[in-house]
């Protein structure tokens, strides 16, 4: 269930990048000078950081590090 939820959130965020509803408009502007094509995508970048934080907290592949440390082979 946790995996399904994380995959769903990730796909939704990927889809939200295509904000066609703001394509041809320069308003409303944020702070009086940022058109939607900028403030929406700036907000999108912040949400991306939040998503990565969630993935790190809830689904970090810690087993990879443990496996790598325990099975380290002689260097090539």
């Amino acid at each position: 269930m946790k995996t399904f939820g994380l995959v769903l959130i990730t796909l939704v965020l990927l889809a939200l990048h295509q904000d066609v509803w703001f394509f041809r408009t320069a308003r409303p502007m944020a702070f009086g000078f940022l058109p939607p094509g900028l403030w929406y995508h700036a907000l999108y970048a912040v949400l991306s950081a939040v998503l990565m934080w969630v993935l790190v907290r809830l689904a970090w592949p810690a087993h990879l590090e443990a496996e790598a440390e325990s099975h380290e082979e002689p260097k090539q």
Partner: protein, 537 residues
């Protein structure tokens, strides 16, 4: 000339860092090429981010947004801010673990082991290397542009490019991965600072951003730059495929192997989108508002050339169109704004920040050297016959050769930084990304599937390059339809490149590459059970 002096001081500092790193190095391949897999969390974050930010980030993005408006941020920045950390999270961590476990130094060493292949690995390595060259060239071009602009032409383009090439070559030659990582970390700090300071200084200089933006919104010529109507939604969607190139770049995969611990990836993937925001937003915004500046002749002449191209482009000969395109090219737009609105000493400091971004081609040069010495020299018995020290010396010699070749090409290259990078390097690597995904996540993938994907990628990149040479670019506006059938315009030549059924070529290139990997792998023999057991639980 004063701003250029600050840049010279900066170049001397990074040269010193490279030599300092050299004094801490050993003649071991893993030390020279991977900094002995010992980078800490902060240097890993800053250097991995820095190596992804190039001349293209500051100069190319501002130039692109000057011409195309705010769409540049959504096209390249916010898409990268999600896709790149996701690929590092899913693939980079696995690459690190496999590198640690099996001692890999290059991606092809992993592919060879994973798919039980030899010469096919050499083909992949050569293709990876070939796609990396344009990326290195934009670094040299950016260096030439930056120094020429900051010195008001006192340092010509060819001399600026040569100076940057020599400095980068020197610290990569001496410092290897350790020197490159330290310099990249410093560069990231500098250009993070640069973005914020440049934004404040130029905003103050032009009399406030709200005034500049309102002026543009009221002008029929500039209002569309505040929306995304100059780019179609299908093109916008296509750009989501471009950041897939990042994890397929050999220098990024190699960088993933330098972390001391896997947990160092955590801060990197979380802060990556915020770093993208901090650098790209000022660059794109400054490029857009430059259109509102009417008291700088260099800006006015670019706007006039762009308007002439749009107005009379269709009646002009291709050579005349190309001349107008060159006049309208705006890769130096931020530098022009700095010279106009910042005090000389500050323009110099900020110029050094730009130079930091421009010089991020160092890790690409090192990666090329690593690919050559590990995937070809060592694989074909060079290391066994001449020893590990000879391998490192060969790597250093290769750094010199690559830099000279890149410089020679940069002097001839006609396209703007942005176009060159996107059309060849980014699209090619995005189409190679199915190789990494298949190697890491699909037991059924085979070396023949990998070969099919690789050959398809090379053919499609070559086909697009030939197509764009044969069919000249139209002026900005409606594209030239070359082939349509069933009511669909399948192949079009646009002002900026090529469109296939409305998408950028990177979309079919990547999808067909993935399809070939699947179909050919289904039809061919899988690696042995012992090999699969080492990769999949």
């Amino acid at each position: 000339m004063i701003p250029a002096i600050f840049v010279f001081i900066y170049l001397a500092v990074v040269l010193y860092i490279g030599i300092f790193a050299f004094r801490r190095s050993a003649d071991k391949a893993e030390d020279y090429f991977l900094a002995n897999r010992s980078l800490g969390p902060l240097v890993f974050l800053l250097s991995l981010f820095g190596t992804n930010m190039t001349a293209f980030t500051i100069l190319g993005s501002s130039g692109h947004s000057f011409q195309n408006g705010i769409v540049t941020f959504g096209l390249m920045a916010s898409s990268s801010g999600l896709v790149i950390p996701l690929t590092i999270y899913f693939c980079g961590t696995r690459v690190w673990a496999l590198g640690k476990k099996h001692g890999f130094i290059t991606p092809v060493q992993m592919f060879r082991d994973r798919w039980e292949c030899g010469h096919i690995g050499s083909v992949i390595s050569i293709v990876q290397a070939a796609f990396l060259v344009p990326y290195i060239i934009i670094g040299v071009m950016g260096g030439g542009t930056t120094l020429a602009t900051l010195s008001s032409g006192a340092v010509p383009y060819w001399a600026g490019g040569a100076l940057v090439a020599i400095v980068v070559m020197a610290y990569v030659f001496f410092g290897g991965m350790r020197g490159t990582a330290w310099v990249n970390a410093l560069q990231t700090v500098l250009f993070l600072t640069f973005g914020a300071v440049a934004l404040i200084v130029i905003g103050y200089g032009i009399g406030g951003f709200d005034r500049a933006v309102e002026k543009m919104a009221a002008s029929p010529a500039f209002a569309s730059l505040l929306t995304r109507e100059r780019v179609s939604p299908l093109f916008f969607l296509s750009y989501m495929f471009i950041p897939l190139s990042s994890i397929a770049f050999p220098h990024i995969m190699i960088f993933c192997l330098t972390a001391e611990k896997m947990k160092h990836f955590q801060k990197t993937v979380i802060f990556y989108p915020l770093c993208i925001l901090a650098i790209w937003l000022p660059c794109v915004f400054l490029g857009v508002v430059a259109n509102s500046v009417d008291d700088v002749p260099e800006v006015s002449s670019k706007i006039e050339a762009r308007a002439s191209l749009a107005r009379e482009g269709r009646t002009l000969a291709p050579e005349q169109r190309e001349d107008l395109r060159k006049q309208a090219a705006a890769d130096d737009i931020v530098l022009i704004l700095l010279k106009r609105f910042a005090p000389l000493w500050l323009a110099g400091l900020l110029g050094a920040g730009i130079m930091a971004a421009v010089m991020a081609s160092d890790s690409q040069i090192l990666a090329l050297s690593t690919l050559f010495t590990e995937d070809l020299f060592a694989f074909y018995e060079g290391k066994a016959r001449f020893g590990e020290a000879a391998q490192v010396h060969t790597g250093r010699a290769f750094v010199v050769i690559v830099t000279i070749v890149a410089y020679a090409i940069a002097l001839q290259a006609p396209q703007s930084i942005f176009d060159l990078a996107v059309q060849y390097a980014f699209s090619g690597y995005a189409a190679l990304s199915p190789l990494l995904l298949a190697a890491l996540f699909w037991r059924g993938s085979t070396k023949w599937g990998a070969l099919a994907s690789t050959l398809w990628t090379v053919s499609s990149v070559a086909a697009v390059a030939v197509f764009q040479q044969v069919v000249p670019a139209p002026p900005p506006g409606p594209p030239v339809v070359v082939w349509s059938a069933g009511g669909v315009d399948w192949l079009m030549r646009t002002a900026g490149g090529t469109a296939i059924a409305g998408f950028m070529p990177v979309v079919p290139m990547t999808l067909i590459s993935g399809l070939l990997m699947v179909v050919v792998s289904w039809l061919t023999a899988k690696p042995g059970a012992d090999t699969l057991k080492r990769y999949f639980r």
